[in-house]
Assembly symmetry: C2
Homo-oligomer: 400 residues x 2
């Protein structure tokens, strides 16, 4: 086995999830993530933890949902031999929609996450579009029914990572070995040192009241946007549950801004609901998006912004600080943590950034948009430049 | 997808496990059993069941156990940085054995099977000897700690089957496509008809008091063994939980004999604890094995018989009636159900064969030994021939 796979497993188990002897750990292994699953299982045995392994197969999920769709269609047409008028878990025969009904309290899945101390999700399937032919209504109905399970899962010490697979390499537009290098560069950091550096940024944001981001770049609209962060707490997202950070890799500091004013341009492409979205421009007045455009995928962007009232307000300001990530791969797990980037998200804010008992921006969506700030840009907090052209003020080469 | 895979899934879900809408079904998918897992997930979606998928990987299990061994070794040598004197889940440092201590109440695994209605185990790994380098003491310690989980699992409507893989084909000494044919011939039966035929055999055994098996075959020692079955109930093992039968394929009728007298010869090779055992001869007096021999693997046989007092007494008499199985493949899932065979097991008897509240032969082991009865043999119940040269008395060609 590639030694980097073992190192990845050790970072995941020890730094990220902080597994200790006696912990009940649930590991979900995607179709092609077997090798990392093996390395994680060995590490968990060494730590004296219990392990339960789930098969996180997109193809199985798709098959289950397609089966449920066939059932809902059968119920509607009335020719399903399994049709039982007394069975209230079946779809309502009067429902013309044909959207499957799912049990909103699946006993086994709930029991798993209620009993688990930690949950390690290892992505890495064989096809990132494995569920492309499942109706979005079906997916939404399933996600809605799984709300309780999802909440129980979020109450564990959960960490999400990926094993580099050919399918993910393809999504990133990279060769397989090239993509492996990319993933391990991002994951196998000196996390202790990065956490210390990110603590400096958190300190600045926690003490600050206003953030202003300015970019002046050739061929791109300028960004000049200001937002309040007074009273908000930044999260030092250092890829560990000890830092309330649940992604490996991570490497961003984020907070929950409000009252945005000005114009922001996002030059990093992204995918919203399978639609490619490029060159997004948002105009804020009084904290709300009052105008927007995109060079591609504008309809998908409009649909996000129209979701609910909170979808037009900011939920997150994030500053990417993982310099192991040096290119965009169309995966939010990596893109938003890249060094020399900042991102803003419209939609839901994270509770960890809010004063206890206070609710921040609420929305059914949370969509991150990323801007490269490596050149001709600056980030100011209360009028002082903290980052210019990518360099932080505590770094060599910083020119205030 | 091969249509036979879908048919296999339907037999498993509908005939074997009797899954209904709203059931909580746990499916364990082995490393190379993905395709059958997909077909089962689709069928469960169609039935309106909930599904939770476990990854039944022998390589992950092996890695976990090797990790636990490394931990136990580290604890013993005292140089394990994780060594914590207050941690009672760690191995006892005074224990010179280096055998891992396992948590005997793993919360997640127990919760899964306590919440599950049905458990479908789909075997089919990449290497049947994937755990060959795990110490047998480690395996035993793990199995012992898992007793509670195993009992909870046996309380579900569980069914064990296999997806035909190259690894299993290799174990059977067959080409891959040839092995696929073999598995589907065994699994895709008219189970309703076979269950009806097996019911006739069950009727004979339930009414009978004494079974005698006689073989006179060229080049092999003769068998002439008699045993009592009075008061015992035969199980019609028709590959369905509705028949208290938990294997797919199945196709045997079995009961719990006692007071064996005589000599039995088993010409079908088998594997006991990774040792090939051939041509076993057992001599019974007063229900106990008083003499034995094997042409190969006699030590492994001796070790089984020496396990405990019950290991020298019979726990099972089984009559194979699945004529879809036409060859031995060194897999008990198939071998013992083959048409024209009978098998006796030393060790533990199944509760289902015993009068309510009565305990039959008790032992830590249950080892099946198989005899081909297709030629020059007869099975008598209370002096009447029920099967001669493989043919049952209700079949054409039977010569009483």
């Amino acid at each position: 086995m590639d030694e980097r796979v073992r190192e990845h497993a050790e970072v995941l188990v020890d730094w990220s999830a902080r597994v200790e002897a006696g912990d009940d750990v649930v590991v979900s292994v995607a179709e092609d993530a077997h090798d990392l699953g093996v390395a994680v299982a060995e590490a968990l045995g060494e730590r004296g933890a219990n392990v339960t392994t789930l098969y996180g197969s997109d193809e199985l999920s798709r098959a289950y949902l397609k089966g449920a769709e066939a059932r809902a269609d059968g119920d509607r047409s009335g020719d399903n031999p399994d049709d039982d008028p007394d069975d209230d878990s079946a779809a309502d025969p009067d429902d013309p929609g044909g959207v499957p009904d799912f049990d909103d309290d699946p006993a086994v899945d709930r029991a798993i996450f209620e009993a688990a101390d930690a949950y390690l999700r290892i992505g890495g399937g064989r096809n990132t579009t494995a569920s492309a032919d499942v109706a979005s209504e079906t997916r939404q109905a399933y996600a809605k029914a799984r709300k309780g399970v999802r909440e129980a899962r979020m109450d564990t010490d959960w960490v999400s990572t990926v094993h580099p697979t050919r399918s993910l390499a393809q999504q990133a537009g990279m060769a397989y070995e090239e993509y492996q290098e990319f993933v391990y560069d991002a994951v196998l950091r000196d996390w202790e040192a990065l956490a210390a550096e990110m603590a400096r940024m958190k300190e600045v944001l926690d003490a600050g009241e206003e953030v202003r981001i300015v970019t002046e770049r050739d061929g791109a609209p300028d960004t000049d946007v200001a937002m309040s962060i007074a009273g908000r707490t930044a999260v030092n997202s250092a890829a560990s549950v000890a830092y309330d950070s649940h992604n490996l890799p991570s490497g961003e500091v984020f907070t929950a801004p409000y009252d945005a004013e000005g114009e922001a341009f996002f030059d990093v492409p992204m995918t919203i609901d399978a639609t490619r979205v490029r060159d997004v421009r948002l105009v804020f007045e009084g904290g709300e998006v009052v105008d927007f455009s995109a060079e591609a995928g504008e309809d998908a962007l409009a649909s996000v912004l129209d979701t609910d009232a909170g979808a037009r307000r900011l939920g997150e300001l994030g500053i990417g600080m993982n310099r192991g990530i040096d290119r965009f791969t169309d995966s939010i797990l990596f893109d938003e943590k890249m060094g020399d980037t900042v991102h803003l998200a419209v939609g839901r804010a994270y509770d960890a950034c809010l004063p206890a008992g206070e609710s921040g921006n609420d929305s059914a969506v949370h969509v991150d948009m990323i801007s490269d700030v490596g050149e001709r840009s600056r980030l100011e907090v209360d009028g002082e430049v903290v980052q210019r052209d990518g360099a932080f003020r505590w770094e060599e080469g910083f020119e205030g």
